[in-house]
């Protein structure tokens, strides 16, 4: 029994049951497959998190975001600038207690270089209802090439606990439909 020492002293020489052996092989091969599939997704998949990141002083990052917001602001909403960056350009989003700033307006099918960083504590970038979730650190500027595939209004929720106002920390991204005729370009021109 499992509560007593093995009956045979030389238990490591006992043959393995066939059922067990077959299952071990299946489990091993399935593990190998899952391992390989993560690697494969880097080649066949369109959703792989970028590792491009830089150390940055939070106040330097704040300046960059403010400069960006000033340059591309199109209107204001509840005191927060709505910023419509250039297609394919750099987009700066900052997290702080307790907001995502500024509001972004992007175009569907266009790729942007989104910069993410926090000014204070850790935050969690959670794009809803799409459900893309990325950790945001103070002092680290993370750059992701992001292409919206849907249009409409999207929320950014904070899903890393950041103190008593955590549940009030939201942001917004508008995605406008592609103006194919106007641009006269094939879809997903920014990619």
């Amino acid at each position: 029994m499992a509560v007593t020492p093995p009956e045979r002293r030389i238990w490591w020489n006992e043959p393995i049951e066939r059922v067990e052996l077959v299952w071990i092989i299946i489990a091993f091969l399935w593990g190998l497959f899952m391992f390989a599939f993560m690697i494969a997704w880097h080649f066949i998949g369109q959703q792989n998190l970028s590792k491009e990141a830089y150390r940055i002083n939070p106040s330097a990052y704040e300046e960059k975001v403010e400069g960006f917001a000033k340059q591309y602001q199109v209107r204001e909403e509840q005191g927060i600038p709505v910023v419509k960056p250039q297609a394919g350009g750099d987009v700066y989003l900052l997290a702080r207690l307790w907001q995502w700033w500024p509001i972004l307006e992007l175009e569907q099918g266009v790729s942007y270089r989104i910069h993410l960083s926090s000014l204070d504590w850790m935050h969690g970038f959670s794009l809803q209802p799409t459900n893309v979730n990325i950790s945001v650190y103070p002092g680290i500027e993370h750059i992701i090439s992001l292409t919206p595939t849907q249009s409409g209004e999207f929320g950014i929720v904070c899903n890393e606990f950041c103190g008593i106002g955590h549940h009030t920390m939201t942001g917004k991204i508008y995605v406008t439909e592609q103006k194919r005729a106007e641009a006269g370009q094939p879809p997903a021109a920014g990619r």
């Binding site: 499992a2 959703q47 680290i140």
Partner: protein, 573 residues
């Protein structure tokens, strides 16, 4: 060199009694320590469980019980009390049982073991005080730059030192038992599994010391800065590995309960032990599970670590997933339940709370906790669920429906065999594992459902009523959180019943005397029945084969469904 000179203890003057049901020699010092640690465990389970109910009721949008400050406070306490204190106290009891009792040995240095126990109690209290004072609501993970009071960290450090002493006592007892030849041949499988847990515990506690001591000094002002990313890497070497202690411990209990209740014997010692060895070799890599959505880490690092080096530790769990029910099936067929594919399972002792708890734990751990864990820990899929309430959904499947339920099941053996008290309210005791199991499985599944719909974890208000920019979750998300609340009540009823049964039995249960017949008897088929099947004559296990086939199909389907979800996301690279 004898064991005494190695550990510096006084030569043995241990008192033993012989257990009338198992024939094991029980050291009085070990017995007292097992009792103390088990009682400590149940106290913290009661506190932490109540906190868990309050959390779930607050997250039920229609109830929304606590104000925000209290919610975050209670959630911090819930994590520490159940994830750490309840489980580790119980694990120390398991270590003492699996070494001293199963090996018929005296326990090494009982005085040190008591010192360890006192440190754990003091540490757990200090952390609880810090949390309840209200200025350490930093969540169980306490990610800097968010800072708790120094005694929050100090309590955790003291607790870990106490637990480390417990591990050392376990290892020393193994040495003593070998020196004093209290057993023949190799240690039993259950002791081997417990040793796996203890080895992982040493790694875990070392990682905890490496990160918590500097963090404590930082909270005192001696260190100016803790890098948040570095903190997370090292903290999770403690945080995730401590869950692997649980896995090793509760898998050992599955084997233990199967052996004591149906006379099950491992199909193959070699396979089961190798599966435990896989845990020792690879489970520590799991820190990476918490770093898949973090900036700046290379994909190859993530893939190798998050997969436990090509899923070799997952393979260990899948092997146990076959060998545990397989051992039960083989034993039950020996016991005469040989008809069809499933008579062995139908005629299993489902009325024995230790068996029902153990088997439900096995099923839920595999189907809910295990499958969701692999999916969540897949490099790219993690982005779908990172920090959503899917994450607590997953680990309530492992730690609550898996570990906690297995520990509860084992308690129904500890009460009569170690406390030597007859279980009061046997009718309710029969019901308890089902109640708690269904509740725990429900909260796991519905939190996973809500997380799939985007609901954040550790979040007071999914209506965002106080937020400047509003956002509305789907009606489905609200439904999931409501169902989560309902099943949390069921789980809490099961948990409360467990605490009442344990406390009632310890205080008022009939004292078991010689010749007493247990309400929930152990397997009585005799040693001979259990001893001679196995290697030469292959047992037929059609029922187990069907069960693992169903498991595998669920696993594969769920895995690919999530890739499908991922492929529909916005594109990012």
């Amino acid at each position: 060199m004898t064991a005494e000179t190695v550990i510096g203890a006084v030569p043995a003057k241990a008192e033993f009694r012989t257990c009338q049901y198992t024939g094991l020699k029980v050291d009085a010092a070990a017995q007292a320590l097992i009792k103390a640690n088990a009682v400590g465990a149940v106290v913290f389970l009661a506190v932490g469980g109540l906190m868990g109910l309050l959390v779930a009721l607050t997250r039920w949008p229609a109830v929304h019980l606590l104000p925000a400050e209290w919610f975050y406070l209670v959630l911090t306490g819930h994590g520490a009390n159940v994830l750490l204190f309840w489980i580790i106290f119980f694990e120390i009891a398991i270590l003492y049982f699996a070494s001293a009792v199963l090996l018929n040995s005296r326990l090494a240095a009982p005085k040190f073991a008591w010192l360890g126990f006192v440190l754990m109690v003091v540490g757990a209290l200090a952390t609880n005080v810090a949390v309840l004072q209200g200025d350490s609501s930093v969540m169980f993970t306490s990610y800097p730059p968010m800072q708790a009071k120094p005694h929050f960290y100090l309590g955790l450090i003291l607790f870990a030192v106490g637990a480390l002493i417990g591990c050392m006592i376990f290892f020393a007892t193994l040495v003593i038992a070998r020196e004093e030849r209290t057993y023949e041949g190799s240690i039993p499988l259950v002791t081997f599994g417990a040793m796996t847990a203890a080895i992982i515990a040493v790694f875990t506690i070392a990682s905890g010391a490496i990160i918590l001591i500097p963090t404590w000094l930082w909270s005192l002002g001696f260190i100016s800065n803790i890098d948040p990313l570095m903190y997370k890497v090292v903290w999770w070497a403690m945080g995730h590995s401590s869950q692997q202690i649980n896995v090793s411990a509760h898998v050992s209990l599955w084997y233990l309960i199967a052996a004591l209740l149906v006379g099950a014997k491992p199909l193959s010692e070699k396979v089961s032990r190798t599966a435990f060895l896989m845990y020792i070799l690879f489970l520590q890599l799991a820190s990476a599970h918490h770093l898949l959505a973090e900036p700046g880490l290379d994909a190859s690092w993530k893939i190798v670590n998050t997969s436990y080096m090509m899923y070799l530790a997952v393979m260990g769990s899948m092997v146990h997933g076959l060998t545990v029910p397989g051992a039960i099936e083989a034993a039950q067929r020996r016991n005469g339940y040989d008809r069809g594919a499933f008579e062995w399972l139908r005629k299993a002792p489902w009325g024995h709370p230790a068996f029902s708890g153990m088997f439900l734990s096995l099923v839920f751990f595999g189907f809910i906790g295990g499958i969701s864990g692999v999916v969540l820990g897949t490099e790219q899929l993690n982005v779908l669920m990172h920090n959503t309430i899917y994450v607590p959904g997953h680990f309530h499947g492992t730690v609550v429906a898996g570990t906690t339920l297995a520990f509860m099941a084992a308690t129904y053996l500890v009460l009569p065999l170690i406390f030597q008290r007859e279980i009061i309210w046997p009718g309710l005791a029969k019901l308890q594992p089902y109640l708690f199991g269904v509740g725990a499985a429900g909260i796991s599944l519905f939190m996973m459902g809500a997380g799939t719909l985007g609901v954040a974890r550790r979040h007071w208000d999914i209506t965002f009523s106080d937020a400047n920019l509003s956002f509305a979750h789907s009606a489905g998300a609200f439904l999931m959180m409501g169902l989560n609340g309902i099943f949390a009540i069921i789980a809490a009823l099961g948990g409360a019943l467990f605490v009442l049964i344990v406390v009632g039995t310890v205080l008022f249960g009939e004292k078991i005397k010689s010749g007493h017949k247990l309400t929930f008897p152990l397997f009585s088929g005799g040693g001979a029945v259990a001893s001679h099947y196995g290697s030469e004559k292959a047992p037929k296990l059609p029922g187990t084969i069907i069960l693992v086939a169903i498991f595998f199909v669920c696993f594969v389907l769920y895995y690919f469904i999530n890739w499908k979800y991922l492929s529909e996301l916005w594109l990012f690279r």
